[in-house]
Amino acid sequence: MRRRTLLKWVSGCLGALCASVVGIPGVSFVLQALRKSGSDVDRVRRVARLKDLPIGKPVAVPIVGAREDAWTVHPDEVLGRVWLVKRPSDAKDGAEPTAQVAAFSATCPHLGCAVQHDAKENRFLCPCHRAIFGLDGERVVAKKGSQKNPSPRAMDLLDCRLVTDKTTQEVWVEVTFQKFEQGLTKKVLKA
């Protein structure tokens, strides 16, 4: 009887060993997708000249760069869009000029559709599930009826500053382009 038990154990272990030889690399192969994708250099980009931006009317600018996709790289792809909102400068002289322009990621915090500008109401509207945002990026609840705002949070504000070009002396808007997890109430940077 003891011999029998031993033999059962041995066959079981040998079987498990063979299975793990395939199983372990198998699992790690499947989990490859969890690894961080390639380098994301130079997220800071010049997107527009300050003088080209109208006041109080959002402008969408594309963020162009190299996009890596498993085994291919697409050199000039639109990686995303950013809405720029230039506020009327109520600041007195000497105030921080950065405050003049706000940059929002055009990716909807709800499920990632492209947020559009609703020209009629002059606010942002996501066509997918009708999330509405004000020009300050905050959620707006549609007045009529019970319809709630599907977005869990306000539009994602991106770091944005004004720089003066050394040669042309033009003022440019520079944006740090980042992506955030969708569907969360908090703004979490995509790993």
């Binding site: 969890l34 969408a60 498993a70 499920l111 559709c113 992506k179 997890e181």
Partner: protein
């Protein structure tokens, strides 16, 4: 033949193996209602066969998926097979639902058939997963945006959601790996799972035979059912002996095959008529409003009521609870008397179908009333038709189908114009259709460079209208006054003559543009052009201000040499302040879109965009020969999946 079969049987015992099928008896005789099961099985086999055949030519990757599907669509057989594969999947889902309802109403889930019931219920969501893993494989706009949304739904589930999402998508964003992963699911893992469950499910059917309820026997006493074979069954229910004991084959089989023929006939007819849809190649830069397939519309609607962190209630908890309820339903049912059970089951079916139908209907109704959604699906349909049109023209480049619409002036032109030009310029035809400027303050550019457009600038009434220079500072400029002068104080006869002359000038100038449409329409007769040119530099003295070939000087008015040509427009939009156009302070608010040749990335328009815009303004794009029958307009809502 018979002797061969005998020989085979002696060696393989196949008759023994097939005996359960060949000798199967339905105690209550054959019924049409039983056909749902067999029909499902055959549809499933049709899916396997058509799917395997499609695999011969399909290639999963973002660069090849759409292209290979379009390649399949090019042959009549491929078109038909893909159509069958597509529509049979819908039929399969509908039949699955019917089958579950039938089994529920027949109370066929009672002991000892619980595992039959549970495996059947598990097959249903697996079937749905199987279907939705197939939709994005075509690399089309709708399928890919669906998987994006589905990925986000999975990702917003607490705890494991994000991990599963990343494994499914194969990284952060939809790409090659998304397609290979879905392909793995669609043709590998899910078929194996479904086949495994299905074999078990069918094995159970043979083991337990039909249920008491289906046999029409007494409902209450389940104790007989411990003995699983048909002899006992018949002994326990003498009534079951009453009808002649017809064998399953062929008496039930012929009913099954009739139903299958009808169902498959419908599927094949639709596949033959319409084929499976193939929408535009997926491109995140194209605007699109994704909607789920019809069978997920109810969940889509449900999700509207659970927002923010609670969304997973609608997407995960409620569906799981419904499934759990059905799985455990036999336990609830056992406690009820037959009469209560009958009422309960009818109620469950009515509530289930009612809720599902209600939610689905509400979702469609919402879209039906949503003008923006309808507009966007009409647009997507137009893009899809255009993409197919371009792909039919020639084989695709190695970068794949995404270039089709990206390099198409007809598609990109309006987008670029809306983004960069339409704050001042309109682009509307005579009937007012097109892109209307938000604050029109510059000429309407529809038909720019055509004789018709140019003659407007030579017409004293029209040149100062809002369609031309009315809203610009040129309204008070030399050109307007010069054109008005031409008609000052002349008699009617002379005015008619003058108009004819100007028509010649417009014609001569429009040939400078060398518009492809104009040449095709035969607007390039030589004699009037020569006359127009002479007038231009001669009697009408346009060259006093404008340069025209070797006459006149640059610097005071736009160059008329090559006016409206590709090269002229590229220069004008790139930098209107160049001396060829409106140098110095003569330029009225027109920005330079591509003046910086050293740092092209600082320009408002890239070289590519500029080319596309100019080609579009000149209507210089591919149109297929007008032989094809125009496609029937499809219902944007029902086709919107």
């Amino acid at each position: 033949m018979q002797s061969f079969l005998n020989w085979l049987d002696a060696r393989t015992d196949y008759r023994q193996l097939l005996a359960p099928i060949r000798n199967r008896v339905l105690p209550a005789g054959p019924r049409w209602a039983y056909s749902t099961a067999s029909c499902l099985l055959w549809l499933f086999i049709i899916q396997l066969v058509t799917g395997l055949l499609l695999m011969l030519s399909y290639s999963p990757s973002t660069t090849t998926a759409w292209a290979s599907v379009h390649f399949i669509e090019q042959s009549a057989a491929g078109h038909f097979l893909r159509g069958v594969h597509h529509f049979a999947s819908h039929a399969l889902i509908i039949l699955c639902g019917v089958h579950v309802v039938r089994v529920l109403l027949a109370r066929a889930f009672q002991a000892p058939r619980e595992l039959l019931w549970v495996t059947g219920l598990l097959l249903f969501p697996l079937m749905l997963l199987w279907a939705i893993s197939g939709n994005p494989l075509s690399g089309g706009l709708k399928g890919v945006s669906q998987i994006e949304v589905e990925g986000h739904i999975i990702g917003s589930t607490p705890w494991v959601g994000p991990i599963i999402q990343r494994i499914l998508i194969g990284g952060e964003e939809v790409g090659h790996l998304t397609l290979t992963h879905l392909y793995f699911l669609h043709v590998g893992l899910l078929p194996l799972l479904v086949i495994g469950l299905l074999l078990f499910h069918i094995g159970q059917v043979y083991r337990h035979g039909l249920s008491v309820a289906e046999l029409g026997g007494p409902h209450d006493d389940v104790s007989h059912w411990s003995a699983p074979n048909l002899t006992n069954l018949a002994a326990a229910h003498p009534l079951a002996m009453m009808p002649p004991r017809l064998k399953y084959f062929p008496h039930q089989t012929v009913r099954n095959m009739t139903v299958l023929t009808v169902v498959f006939g419908i599927v094949a007819a639709i596949a033959w008529q319409h084929g499976a849809p193939l929408d535009a190649p997926a491109d995140p830069t194209l605007p699109h409003t994704p909607r789920p397939e019809w069978y997920f519309r109810s969940l889509f609607e449900l999700r509207r009521y659970f927002t923010g962190d609670w969304e997973f209630v609608a997407t995960i908890i409620i569906p799981a609870a419904v499934l759990g309820f059905f799985v455990l339903f036999p336990m609830l049912d056992r406690k009820c008397s037959p009469r209560v059970s009958a009422v309960l089951r009818v109620l469950v079916v009515l509530c289930g179908v009612g809720t599902w139908g209600g939610l689905t209907g509400m979702s469609y109704l919402r879209d039906w009333k949503d003008a923006e959604y309808i507009a966007s699906s009409v647009e997507v349909d137009a893009l899809s038709a255009r993409a197919r049109e371009l792909a039919d023209r020639s084989l695709l480049p190695p970068e794949g189908a995404i270039t089709l619409l990206r390099d198409d002036p007809k598609t990109q032109g309006p987008l670029l114009f809306a983004r960069h030009c339409a704050s001042c310029h309109s682009h509307v035809d005579a009937s007012g259709r097109g892109l209307v400027a938000s604050e029109p303050s510059a000429p309407n550019l529809h038909g720019f460079g055509t004789a018709e457009w140019i003659s407007g600038t030579l017409d004293p009434q029209r040149i100062a209208s809002a369609h031309y220079f009315g809203k610009t500072k040129f309204a008070e400029g030399d050109m307007v006054s010069k054109v008005k002068e031409l008609f000052d104080g002349i008699e009617e006869v002379e005015a008619v003559k003058m108009r004819d002359d100007l028509k010649l000038v417009a014609q001569a100038l429009s040939t400078e543009a060398a518009l492809p449409r104009a040449a095709a329409a035969g607007h390039d007769a030589q004699a009037p052009i020569v006359a127009g040119r002479e007038l231009l530099s001669g009697r009408l003295s346009c060259t006093d201000c404008h340069r025209f070939h070797d006459k006149g000087e640059l610097g005071s008015a736009p160059d008329l040499t090559g006016y409206g040509s590709r090269e002229w427009l590229l220069g004008m939009i790139g930098n209107p302040q160049h001396e060829r156009f409106y140098s110095g302070d003569r330029n009225d608010r027109m920005p330079a879109f591509a003046e910086d040749t050293e740092h092209p990335e600082r320009n408002l328009l890239s070289r590519r965009e500029l080319n596309l815009l100019v080609d579009w303004l000149r209507s210089d794009w591919y149109e297929p020969p007008m032989t094809s029958v125009p496609a029937k307009p499809r219902n944007p809502i029902l086709a919107g999946n």
